[in-house]
Symmetry: C2
Subunit: 328 residues, 2 copies
């Protein structure tokens, strides 16, 4: 037997404990071509909030009463596929559960000697790849430019801010606590606390690109600060995900025309053909410590809802994870 988290109700606003339930499930045996995987880390990610509204977008919505799939890292406990052996570390989409059976085709083996396995859910996984795609493919940022990254202490934001800096950009980043700001400053980011300093003031010098993780007032300020031909890399809008009613968009959107701006949304999995390029560029930076990462880790599958809700309160520095089992 193992446990999984199911969606018990559609959240209203920021998710609360009663929106989720723990369920015990009988562990299945792998069939031919499958493996049973015991999760060590499960990922909580802001985009999952959208799936809980029940509306299908680029991913299907989660059903009430159903399990919650998403990124997870674990170890193979039984394999019926020649590519996988017991003990192997793998990344899966098993989601919020302690154990599960997956087709070997849908598992990606990771080498724990290269980087800690948890990084496959963060700086070397989907969030890091999102940051890289946003800068490289969508924003096409260039050395010498100035970029503003909101949510800069989050999993995507901290990767984006640092990758931009390593590519020779001047980087301004916002975060919501003194500790986050201090961390970002230690990384060479011109960080400010948006609860104390208005983005308008912080961006007064002008910017060439804006990596938007937050939406709302940050986007308004960025549009005003963008120089002609600037770009908005529209990645996320965490300030908006828990709104019960859609809030109006920026009042200054017409600046898109007068300043010839480009705003482009993207979903990282459209760009999987660039995964090798990402790994080739960012992997060495992580291994030699030039690209730092932090993780905020809660323990126990029962804490998955708390970790998830914490994303919308800014409880995390860097990648938010839940450790659901031992790593040996």
């Amino acid at each position: 037997m193992s446990r999984e988290v199911i969606l018990a109700a559609r959240p209203q606003g920021v998710p609360v404990a009663s929106d989720f339930e723990l369920r015990e499930v009988v562990d299945a045996e792998p069939a031919a071509g499958e493996a049973a995987v015991r999760n060590v880390f499960v990922s909580v990610d802001p985009y999952m909030r959208g799936r809980m509204t029940g509306v299908d977008t680029y991913v299907p919505g989660f059903g009430v009463g159903s399990s919650v799939d998403g990124g997870a890292v674990g170890r193979v406990v039984a394999s019926r596929d020649p590519r996988l052996a017991e003990g192997d570390w793998v990344v899966s989409q098993l989601g919020w559960c302690e154990q599960g059976v997956v087709s070997a085709d849908r598992l990606r083996k990771i080498d724990p000697s290269v980087a800690p396995p948890s990084t496959a859910l963060g700086v070397l996984g989907m969030p890091g790849f999102t940051a890289w795609v946003g800068l490289e493919v969508i924003g096409q940022v260039k050395e010498g430019e100035t970029i503003y990254v909101s949510g800069a202490a989050g999993a995507v934001g901290s990767a984006a801010a640092q990758i931009a800096r390593l590519k020779g950009l001047r980087v301004i980043g916002s975060a919501g606590t003194a500790e986050k700001v201090e961390w970002l400053r230690s990384l060479g980011i011109e960080a400010f606390d948006y609860r104390e300093t208005s983005p308008k003031e912080a961006l007064a010098d002008g910017i060439d690109a804006y990596f938007d993780n937050v939406g709302g007032e940050q986007l308004v300020a960025a549009l005003t600060a963008l120089r002609p031909h600037g770009r908005v890399i529209a990645c996320g809008a965490i300030s908006r995900y828990c709104d019960e009613r859609a809030e109006p968009g920026p009042r200054n959107l017409f600046l898109m025309v007068t300043k010839r701006l480009r705003l482009q949304g993207f979903i990282v999995f459209d760009h999987n053909d660039r995964l090798r390029d990402f790994a080739a560029e960012v992997g060495p930076w992580v291994r030699d410590g030039r690209l730092a990462y932090r993780e905020t880790i809660l323990d126990g599958i029962e804490n998955v809802p708390t970790a998830f809700a914490g994303l919308f309160r800014g409880d995390n520095i860097g990648k938010m994870l839940v450790r659901v089992g031992p790593d040996e």
Copy 2:
């Protein structure tokens, strides 16, 4: 002596007669390298409203008490430059005046045997080039796609809708009177009257691109109707130019992310290196009648303010012009 229109006050909302004054000026003589030009047609264009707020954007604002420059077509009455002779037709930025002196470097000669001179202010001039750049450079539209053009009976919109159709797109267009809709339908555009049919309903099949001349609710509806990887060609927002307070942007802007949309603003003069390509493609279509155009012409310089204000009430079908002198 000749007359010119000056900006007498900054308009509040839709411009009114008292925002402008007629002034008599003594006609100057051209110096070496200059020509004196008698205007035949002066152009009124929606973007000029923005310049009247006094804020410098991509063009300087107009000063109160100053003349209003802008597109005009006229004939040389005296030349001190070997490239120009008396009687030549020229396009200039002389603006809202009957006559003026200009450096020959800033005049472009036009051949009245190729197309009526007034088209140099419309379908073969800035509005037509704007339509072409929007489709070709910004939207990169392709045969077989569906595009929605708002303000489709205006100078830019009617060119955009027809160029898109000639490039093999399915074209949906909106306009605000039965006469405009009828004209557009006669051109093969699936036109609807936005005062009677909601854009949501008209766009229910989905679209691949949106050529935005209007902003506001049309943009909201287009974002909802756009298919994944769709594009917004952000050209203008005539529904907003006379707002005294900036209105909020679209509530559904986050669809930019989930549908991986791109919204790009542009200013046509950034693309002057493509003028030859435009003339080579669109010129023949106009000459052989495959691309139709209409003009709404008022007579007399004293009617320039009326013509200009009429743009914001939708008084024009096609290009709005004022004839300020005889064409001989």
